[in-house]
């Protein structure tokens, strides 16, 4: 990584840490409310995996910036968070949560695999673990998508609606601005040109088995990577950050 600007790398790290933190937080909102006990456990466990990845990347960023993981996670404002819009979308019903998980995990598996084979040892170390866990998340989401799509009239209707709602957020998964290009150029992370086809193949397989159609391409939603979030994000942060803001520096 010699010659690489620190700020591009730390921006990249923050983006992935924020993805994981925000998704982990959304999934944790199901705790105690899932449609059945097994799913309460499943979503909570997936959330835990996300928080683990978030911590790993916040720690790496904190090291580079001379900050600490809690300050990064809990004491920034909306515009400073650089997560994808996809992961901050409200959970909605179970179908929408499952479809969000499908769309995200299907991209993360090939993405982490590419990072694990990349030139940045610290990123590769986290990615190697994240990839294995993401494979379980994808499996869970894919199996549920099939059950819901090829299920009752209601489950099918809700899953189709979830796909239609979330599909416009998927282009952002494969955006590559100057920050991403710098990391790609350094050989640290994979090119979206490699990740996207793998994602498309998984989508085709899963949707076909679920007897669902791929939504028509619409107006792509984007901006999270630049800190431009939807209205719900402020509410999310007000819950996520409440304890740390009320008691700054609190520890267990």
């Amino acid at each position: 990584m010699s010659g690489m600007e620190t700020t591009e790398r730390t921006t990249w790290l923050i983006r992935r840490a924020d993805d994981a933190l925000v998704l982990g937080h959304r999934l944790s909102e199901w705790c105690g409310h899932a449609p059945m006990l097994e799913e309460d456990l499943a979503l909570a466990n997936i959330a835990l995996d996300q928080i683990g990845v978030a911590r790993a990347f916040y720690q790496a960023t904190a090291e580079a910036l001379g900050s600490d993981e809690d300050r990064l996670a809990y004491h920034r404002s909306e515009r400073d968070y650089l997560n994808l819009l996809l992961v901050e979308q409200p959970n909605g019903d179970f179908a929408r949560t499952i479809v969000r998980q499908l769309l995200f995990s299907a991209a993360m598996v090939p993405f982490w695999r590419g990072c694990a084979e990349g030139t940045d040892a610290a990123i590769a170390a986290v990615a190697a673990k994240a990839e294995k866990e993401a494979a379980y998340h994808l499996r869970h989401a894919a199996e549920w998508t099939v059950r819901l799509g090829d299920g009752t009239e209601e489950s099918r209707r809700r899953t189709e609606a979830a796909l239609a709602w979330l599909w416009p957020f998927t282009d952002e998964l494969f955006e590559a601005d100057a920050v991403e290009q710098a990391m790609i150029g350094a050989g640290a992370v994979p090119d979206p040109a490699v990740v996207r086809p793998a994602w498309e193949a998984t989508m085709e397989t899963v949707l076909a088995r679920a007897t669902l159609s791929r939504p028509e391409p619409g107006w792509p939603r984007s901006g999270g990577r630049a800190g431009r979030h939807g209205e719900e994000f402020g509410h999310l942060l007000s819950e996520l950050q409440y304890l740390q803001r009320a008691h700054p520096g609190a520890t267990w």
Binding site: L48, A128, A130, A135, R139
Partner: protein, 164 residues
């Protein structure tokens, strides 16, 4: 003095290896393959641990337990650090560890298994009656590392330590 340092290292290694996993207390962290190494640099003992799942809540507890075990073995002030690479894998669970898991009614993960394709899954045999006719109740069980299964032959539920 090489001799004294050797014996200190051996004492430290023994203390660390014996630390039980908080969730599966019949297993030690050494049997789980979590201990990457114990080193002594200028009298400072350092333990490298491999975390299992990235979000495993037991990781911090284990690190504290390791420091405590060393303290009780007369080796205070040891440093414990987490090492992410190479990534921990269930392949590192020792044969003794696998046997203990099975004795506790938890089916151990197969070694060196290729990841099953997206809609396929390996069906672990029932640890009670050995029947292959098992079905999965939940991919995520009481801990992130285990899945919940049921035997359709003898009707007993059991847990499966997932391949990672």
């Amino acid at each position: 003095m090489v001799g004294a340092e050797d014996s200190l290292l051996r004492r430290a290694e023994a203390a660390v290896a014996a630390v039980p996993d908080p969730e599966l207390p019949f297993l030690t962290i050494a049997e789980l393959g979590m201990v990457r190494g114990v080193t002594i640099t200028e009298g400072q003992v350092e333990v490298a641990l491999s975390p299992t799942y990235t979000g495993c809540p037991a990781t911090a507890v284990i690190a504290a337990e390791v420091a405590g075990a060393l303290d009780r073995a007369g080796i205070p002030g040891a440093r414990v650090r987490t090492v992410l690479a190479p990534a921990w894998t269930t392949d590192w669970i020792t044969a003794a560890g696998r046997s203990k898991l099975l004795q506790a009614g938890i089916v151990p993960p197969p070694t060196g298994a290729a990841r099953p394709a997206l809609f396929e899954a390996a069906a672990p045999p029932c640890p009670a009656c050995l029947s292959p006719a098992t079905e999965r109740l939940s991919a995520f069980g009481s801990t992130p590392c285990k899945a919940l299964y049921r035997c359709t032959a003898c009707r007993e539920p059991f847990e499966f330590f997932k391949c990672l």
